[in-house]
């Protein structure tokens, strides 16, 4: 989305979206991508909506700004969208404070979908919600993904949600992707020690007896340059070379990538 606020900036690499490198796009060009091609759902639905604006107007304004359509059509599309989101049409003139947390997150998802994007990035979309509402939102996202033929990037720390939602999983640690692959093989046979340790640390409500493990230490500070593998100080398998040389991110099987010296 290129939304990292200054002084943060992209210092290298490429983001290839439909054959074009977004890193080279100007702010003007990005504005035509955002919302229309790539949209984002944020974690906190409380602070993401304008408290002085009606729910419906949020969506209508978005459509009118980006598309060359009349007010009537925008209103019609908004009403249809509310149906999809499971929000009653009567609530189109309500303000955000009249909505509960889960309903607000539905509106946020609606805003992301209003311009029919190809890719939606959802950043911890259910973290601020209670477990039953979380289940409602996950079901809604599954339905919309199918109906809108979406590609979804789901950012989360909740391993249960990953297992339930994802086709493919990327595991990040201290600013690096350490493992990537299809969900089921990654869960059943994790290749990176961090993935393995993370899966061992999560309780499963469906198991009667379980022994959980934890990962000693804490993630490194990213202020200082790190030598070797970033996970090495907490890794139970770490060897000398792990502290000396950074492992490359390599393909170890079809579509399966891992960055670890010990899995070559």
């Amino acid at each position: 989305m290129k939304l990292v606020p200054p002084p943060g900036r992209i210092v290298g690499g490429k983001i290839i979206f439909e054959g074009k490198n977004l890193v080279e796009f100007s702010e003007d060009e990005m504005r035509r991508i955002r919302g229309k091609k790539i949209a984002m759902v944020f974690q906190d639905p409380m602070s993401s909506l304008n408290p002085l604006m009606k729910i419906g107007d949020h969506i209508i304004e978005l459509i009118l700004t980006h598309e060359n359509v009349g007010k009537e059509e925008a209103l019609e599309r908004t009403e249809k969208l509310l149906d999809e989101l499971g929000i009653s049409r009567e609530r189109i003139n309500d303000y955000p404070h009249q909505f509960s947390g889960g309903m607000r997150q539905r509106v946020m998802i609606g805003l992301a979908l209003a311009l029919n994007p190809d890719l939606v990035i959802a950043d911890e979309p259910t973290t601020a919600l209670d477990v039953i509402v979380e289940a409602q939102i996950l079901n809604l996202m599954k339905k919309l993904k199918k109906n809108y033929n979406l590609t979804l990037i789901l950012i989360t720390h909740n391993i249960g949600i990953v297992a339930e939602m994802a086709d493919k999983v990327g595991v990040m640690y201290a600013g690096k992707l350490v493992e990537f692959g299809e969900s089921l093989p990654l869960f059943e046979n994790p290749q990176h020690p961090y993935t393995e340790a993370l899966l061992d640390a999560v309780p499963n409500i469906r198991l009667s007896e379980q022994t959980l493990k934890w990962i000693p230490g804490s993630p490194p500070s990213l202020l200082e340059p790190i030598r070797g593998c970033r996970f090495a100080p907490r890794c139970k398998y770490a060897e000398k070379k792990c502290f000396e040389k950074e492992p490359e991110f390599i393909e170890i099987g079809k579509g399966r990538f891992v960055a670890c010296h010990l899995r070559k």
């Binding site: 209670d130 477990v131 039953i132 249960g160 297992a163 339930e164 869960f187 340790a197 640390a201 804490s218």
Partner: protein, 337 residues
């Protein structure tokens, strides 16, 4: 602790803040009924889980149990003594026996006090230990117990120098330095990194086993409650809807709300296909809770009786109580395996 904790018909109402104009126009004060008549027992040396969504009243209950706030009505018997009738020296002596650990570790430790000073502070308040050396020794022991060793290395550190997990362990050290019998742990792992949550949970189990500490574990997370609790109570809108032994709650849930909660938890196994019973809408406002059973507007099996008559918490077997007119009706929908 000898006989444990008995909670009898505990209530806490908070008056709703009104504008000046509203006060002029109506005399009736409205109340948020955060806790509205709950009764349960915590047995000595158990981890008792209090589970509920935001707004269910679980944190208010935790604060009442160690008398951080005063109740509107009801009793909390700590070893058969009603803690709300204590005052002065007697109350101070009881305060030593009960402690609390909060969710927000960053806000729980004074940033300008070293970890050692923070943990030593309660000893000074309660005038425990002959001299500085003895108190320091007690702090070292507490640090060892929570796994912050060597203690000398942590004593002089400041909170910002510790990770989230270490800070929470320092909070536990401060809670146990007075040798309490009972600790309220209010969402102690909710803000801890996933990779370290098991460490805090194992610490609670260890303190229970080795130091005979009884815990009230307040959480919204049924998966972690299953991992550490002996018994569990489910709260909804200021009421307890179900209480039971851990395995009873997880394998044989009776209340439709418990069934809904259990079926909503995401399972970390991609092969598992969730079969969910999701109630309509969200938890309503506790200012004017629904009449009858508070869950009836969202309940999939509610009948007319549910909207008229409030169900009582009744025993269905020796380890299991439920407050529902139609207990067990939704249970077959839930596959506990």
């Amino acid at each position: 602790m000898k006989t444990g904790i008995k909670v009898e018909n505990l209530k806490k109402y908070f008056p709703v803040q009104k504008s000046f104009l509203e006060t002029l126009l109506s005399r009736k004060t409205e109340y948020v009924k955060a806790v509205d008549g709950i009764s349960f027992e915590i047995k000595p040396k158990e981890i008792f889980g209090l589970v509920g969504e935001s707004g269910s009243g679980k944190t208010t209950t935790g604060k009442l149990l160690i008398r951080l706030i005063e109740p509107t009505d009801g009793k909390v018997l700590f070893d058969d003594v009603n803690i709300f009738e204590l005052d002065g020296e007697e109350l101070r002596n009881f305060r030593r026996r009960m402690q609390i650990v909060f969710q927000d570790v960053a806000a729980s430790l004074n940033p300008r006090m070293s970890i050692g000073e923070s943990i030593k502070h309660p000893l000074e308040i309660h005038r425990i230990g002959e001299n500085e050396d003895e108190r320091k020794k007690m702090v070292f022991e507490a640090l060892e117990k929570v796994g912050l060793s060597p203690p000398e290395a942590f004593y002089y550190k400041y909170p910002h120098q510790l990770s989230g997990g270490q800070r929470q362990r320092a909070c536990f050290a401060r809670a146990i330095v007075l040798n309490p019998e009972f600790i309220v742990a209010d969402e102690p792992i909710a803000m801890i990194d996933v990779s370290l949550r098991a460490q805090i949970m194992d610490l609670m189990i260890k303190l229970k086993e080795q130091n005979n500490i009884t815990f009230l574990y307040i959480t919204h997370d049924l998966a972690t409650a299953k991992y550490i609790c002996n018994r569990i109570a489910i709260m909804y809108l200021g009421k307890i809807v179900e209480i039971g032994e851990r395995d009873e709650i997880y394998n044989n849930p009776q209340h439709p709300y418990t069934v809904a909660l259990l079926s909503s938890v995401p399972v970390p196994n991609p092969k598992y296909k969730p079969k969910r019973i999701i109630p309509k809408g969200e938890i309503p406002s506790p200012i004017n809770p629904p009449p009858g059973c508070r869950f009836h507007p969202r309940c999939p099996i509610a009948t007319k009786k549910c909207s008229l008559e409030e169900p009582k918490l009744e025993r269905i077997n020796s380890n299991h109580l439920v407050a529902c007119h139609h207990p067990g009706k939704t249970s077959p929908l839930y596959d506990s395996k």
